[in-house]
């Protein structure tokens, strides 16, 4: 049998992060490509819960297998299957060991590693760096990630291609989003208030997303008509810390920690906001930026990481130096005073980050 493809992942459906989003969309794109080209595809997950793929809309569950956290069983089966495959795509650097073993048995199997961001830049482990040699191609989610791999791991530049993340084709069209009654009341938003929005995990271990700097900028702005909603799962330590920062800034009436938002509420939050901001310093790419822009929201992001790809170096959104409270403040003031001017160009967004465009790039890279 010719052209067997194997996509190996950690989680696809049992977690909600950016990497899982990429895996779902990549799974769909590969399924569609393989159907057209008459090639065989398997999509495996190490950690997903049993039956996690049932009723998913990305690819048929027949293509999928999960090992429910049984690492040993996953590795054993993945090495055996990988050795029979023509191409193995790893969705995470933690699967590199599997690829290394596959390559020992089947040197002709093509290994592709998807590189997202911090998970790969910070891999200082020299054993792993040696293992990079078994990878034929790297797909980096941004030029920034690509440069970091070259710098940190000495990988030949020609081995690394950029495959930017894309919009999930299942996102409902902006015109079909209704902002539910009560959403404004939920956050105590008054007529005429401007809404600034950040969606991110609030983690005491990460602390690079820049929402603390936005709070500082907000304090400096001294405007009471701005409500700042920070949504996302938060750990207790970070919640306490950020609440303290809000209290010290005297912004208890303006900054709202909204907690985890279910997927079906996200679009309404984007639609009701005036500005999305996340002056982060360690984004691999930042899918949330393109999602916010898909719903017509002007965005502000950092200029020091993969965000630059997502914002097309400032063409689609405004870029600031992360940590520079003044710059953040100025950018917020400009955007809030003239929102229409900063609405991202929809056609340009779709041409660069639409699903169709992602698939075209994927096809070229697989060639």
């Amino acid at each position: 049998m010719r052209n067997h493809f194997l996509l190996l992942t950690l989680n696809i459906f049992s977690a909600t992060g950016g990497i899982e989003k990429v895996c779902r969309v990549a799974g769909k794109a590969l399924f569609e490509k393989m159907t057209l080209d008459q090639q065989r595809l398997m999509i495996w997950s190490m950690h997903d819960k049993a039956e996690a793929a049932e009723n998913n809309t990305y690819f048929p569950a027949e293509l999928y297998r999960t090992f429910r956290g049984n690492k040993a069983a996953f590795v054993k089966a993945a090495v055996a299957q990988g050795a029979k495959s023509d191409t193995v795509i790893l969705s995470h650097i933690n699967l590199l060991m599997v690829a290394w073993m596959i390559k020992k048995i089947a040197p002709r199997t093509r290994i592709i590693l998807m590189a997202h961001g911090i998970e790969i830049w910070n891999h200082a482990n020299s054993v792993k760096s040696n293992m990079f040699r078994c990878v034929n191609n790297f797909w980096a989610v941004s030029e920034y990630t690509r440069q970091r791999i070259i710098a940190s791991h000495g990988v030949a530049p020609e081995k690394i291609s950029v495959l930017n993340n894309c919009l999930d084709p299942n996102l409902p069209l902006p015109k079909n989003i209704l902002i539910p009654h009560g959403l404004h009341q939920r956050y105590g938003i008054n007529e005429g208030d401007k809404i600034v929005f950040t969606l991110t995990r609030l983690s005491s271990k990460e602390r690079y997303k820049g929402y603390d700097k936005v709070i500082a900028a907000l304090k400096a702005m001294q405007r009471t008509d701005i409500k700042y909603i920070i949504a996302g799962k938060a750990d207790a330590q970070e919640t306490a810390l950020i609440q303290e920062e809000i209290r010290q800034a005297g912004l208890q009436n303006q900054v709202i920690l909204a907690g985890f938002l279910p997927d079906e509420e996200l679009a309404a939050h984007f639609m009701m906001s005036d500005l999305y901001i996340m002056p982060s310093s360690k984004e691999g790419f930042g899918i949330v930026f393109i999602e916010a822009m898909y719903y017509g929201l002007p965005v502000i992001g950092g200029n020091a990481d993969g965000t630059m790809d997502a914002l097309l170096h400032g063409k689609l959104g405004t870029v600031v130096t992360p940590g520079n409270v003044n710059e953040i403040k100025d950018a917020m003031e400009s955007l809030l005073s003239n929102r229409e001017k900063y609405v991202p160009d929809h056609d340009s967004l779709m041409n660069h980050f639409g699903y169709e465009s992602y698939k075209s790039k994927l096809e070229v890279l697989l060639h």
Binding site: M1, K28, T35, Q39, L41, P60, A61, E62, L173, S360
Partner: protein, 596 residues
């Protein structure tokens, strides 16, 4: 249900494209006797064609290709069973409708939800939708692949149609696919994506194709997968009964007369009884029976008919009529198939009764375990994985046993060909003057199917019967043979909610009964007369062996062929070749130079 076609090309003058589509529409007239429409966009180099069989809004308002808001144009074949719900929803969103058709609902839904609208459509459909503003052509096919849609994409552009034969009328007809006879003899049909032409392929079910500025991309919008609900057997039987009742109700919506095929078996019997519940008056039943007693199911048909007050149409099909008609049936076939003759006759009678649509029981056997493969696949898979198989199969020479050879093939294709294969690889090589290696190479190259070994063996059988036998044989035969008479076949067992529910039931609930389709029987035990479900299994229910042997057409065709064909005919007469195998060899002789 209708017939559609179209070409989008900048390489030929518009007039040449229009001539092509006019010829194609003329060739497709049988499937759309009520109206014809051709629509062109000169700047884009696009011509869309449509032959209409009208079932909803019989007025000229339903004319196609249909233009919507001066932006979208559609050529649509099929039925959307939930169109009234979608229509109300769209009305609430501010859409206004000019017609009572489902066609207009597809357009409004696309306007509202874009390509995400396709997942909301429940029914059988294949359509082409042109967006004048974006200069984009979309081809869309339902998620069970009930309606056919074939296309060819070349540097010239793209062309599509409901049948493959009409691609010969393109300005540049496609080249023949030299490999098809091998697959035909192995499968008894051509498995998707194979056709008799090179580069002419079906749009995969549940996919849409987008064509813009010479570039095509395919995207999936829906598929059926097995899942695992926790319903008990009793709940499952209740739900199945309720869902099928709703499905039948929705499938009866039409502004033209509609009937039910009644074979005498369980599936059509249930559909017939449910249709009778819905339609107290004016229900038409259609059945065939034979003077050859051993093939006749008339006893069971009569038992069912006794329960219901309906317009009975029972036809006695005689050998003479069959013999006279056989050449016409072969002519009406699109892609080669070793079956479908029964559908041709029953559709002919439906047409004579003035019906336009008929319900058929396709899908029940596949979803609920009606075939022997549900019992046999597990053992076959064990043999397939046995290391001694390759050695053993070399020693096997008998025709029946030589199908064991197919178990050397990996995966579900190998199992299918072992369980349902038409000719064994050695026989195919012999028939086509090829080497066995050449035959194996072609069989390995297509179709490429997913590895489904991980599924429960009975779900594997269900997947195999649904995606190979039903998809490539039953649904295709049903479509082409009914369309030959301008009749629409509707398949309530493939209703979206019903099929999704069946696929969500665990194998132990769905199949674990002493009787095939035990759960379906359980669900309708009160309604279905016991002799219909509790009776000895009948084999194939047409007396074709006798009739083929009497046919001068068959005799002449075979004797006009090569020496090998003449020998094949003798083998058929002595009982060493099945009638369906003979039929396949005749078709190859007619369409391929190998026996010339």
């Amino acid at each position: 249900m209708c017939r559609i076609a179209g070409i989008l090309s900048q390489q030929h003058p518009l007039q040449a494209l229009q001539v092509s589509i006019t010829n194609i529409c003329a060739a497709l007239q049988h499937g759309g006797p009520d109206d014809e429409g051709i629509w062109s966009d000169e700047t884009a180099g696009l011509v869309l064609g449509h032959r209409r069989l009208s079932l909803l809004d019989l007025s000229s308002a339903g004319h196609q290709p249909m233009l919507y808001q001066d932006r979208y144009v559609i050529s649509f074949n099929g039925e959307i069973y939930n169109f009234q719900q979608l229509r109300s929803e769209l009305q609430q969103l501010g859409h206004q409708f000019r017609t009572q058709t489902d066609t207009e609902v597809i357009l409004a839904a696309y306007e509202q939800w874009g390509t995400q609208s396709f997942a909301r459509l429940e029914g059988m459909f294949a359509f082409a939708l042109w967006d004048k503003t974006d200069q984009t052509l979309l081809l869309v096919r339902d998620r069970s692949g009930i309606k056919p849609l074939y296309y060819i994409h070349t540097a010239d552009g793209i062309a599509f149609a409901s049948e493959t034969k009409v691609f010969q009328y393109l300005p540049q007809p496609p080249a023949n696919n030299p490999n098809w006879p091998v697959l035909m003899l192995a499968y008894g049909h051509l498995p998707e994506p194979v056709t008799t032409y090179q580069h002419v392929v079906p749009l995969p079910k549940g996919f849409f194709l987008r064509y813009q500025q010479g570039h095509i991309s395919l995207q999936s919008f829906g598929f059926y997968s097995f899942s695992s609900s926790e319903d008990t057997k009793a709940t499952a039987a209740q739900n199945i009964a309720a869902l099928l009742r709703t499905a039948v109700k929705n499938h009866l919506i039409a502004d033209a007369p509609i009937g039910v095929f009644l074979s005498g078996g369980i599936d059509s019997g249930i559909l017939f009884l449910l249709a009778a519940e819905q339609k107290k008056q004016g229900l038409n039943s259609l059945s065939l029976y034979f003077s050859e007693e051993k093939y006749s199911e008339k006893t069971y048909q009569d038992l069912l008919l006794q329960q219901v007050n309906c317009q009975r149409n029972q036809y006695k099909l005689e050998g003479n009529e069959f013999l006279e008609t056989l050449p016409k049936i072969l002519h009406d076939m699109d892609l080669p198939s070793c079956d479908g003759i029964n559908t041709w006759f029953i559709s002919k009678y439906a047409k004579e009764q003035g019906l336009k649509a008929v319900l058929s029981g396709i899908g029940a056997d596949e979803l609920l375990g009606g075939y022997p493969s549900f019992k046999r696949l597990k053992l076959a898979a064990l043999v397939q994985q046995s290391p001694n198989l390759a050695l053993g199969s070399k020693l096997i020479r008998g025709r029946k046993l030589s199908r064991l050879n197919y178990l050397q093939m990996e995966g579900i294709s190998g199992l299918y060909l072992f369980l349902r294969g038409h000719f064994a690889p050695t026989d195919i090589a012999h028939q086509l003057g090829a080497t066995e290696k050449e035959v194996w190479d072609i069989l390995q190259s297509a179709p490429v199917l997913p590895d489904i070994q991980r599924l429960h063996p009975q779900n594997q059988a269900s997947w195999m019967e649904t995606n190979l036998y039903m998809q490539n044989q039953l649904l295709r035969d049903a479509d082409v043979m009914s369309m030959a008479h301008g009749i629409e076949i509707r398949v309530p067992f493939l209703d979206h909610a019903f099929q999704s529910y069946c696929m969500s039931l665990g194998p132990a609930i769905k199949y674990d009964t002493a009787l095939p389709k035990g759960l379906l029987i359980e669900a309708f035990k009160k309604e279905l007369p016991e002799p219909v479900w509790n009776r000895p299994k009948m084999g194939f229910s047409f007396p074709f062996t006798e009739w083929f042997a009497e046919s001068s057409f068959v005799k002449e065709t075979m004797n006009e062929g090569s020496e090998l064909q003449q020998k094949n005919y003798q083998q058929f007469l002595t009982g060493d070749l099945h009638w369906s195998q003979l039929l396949s060899l005749m078709i190859i002789q007619q369409q391929h130079p190998v026996y010339a």
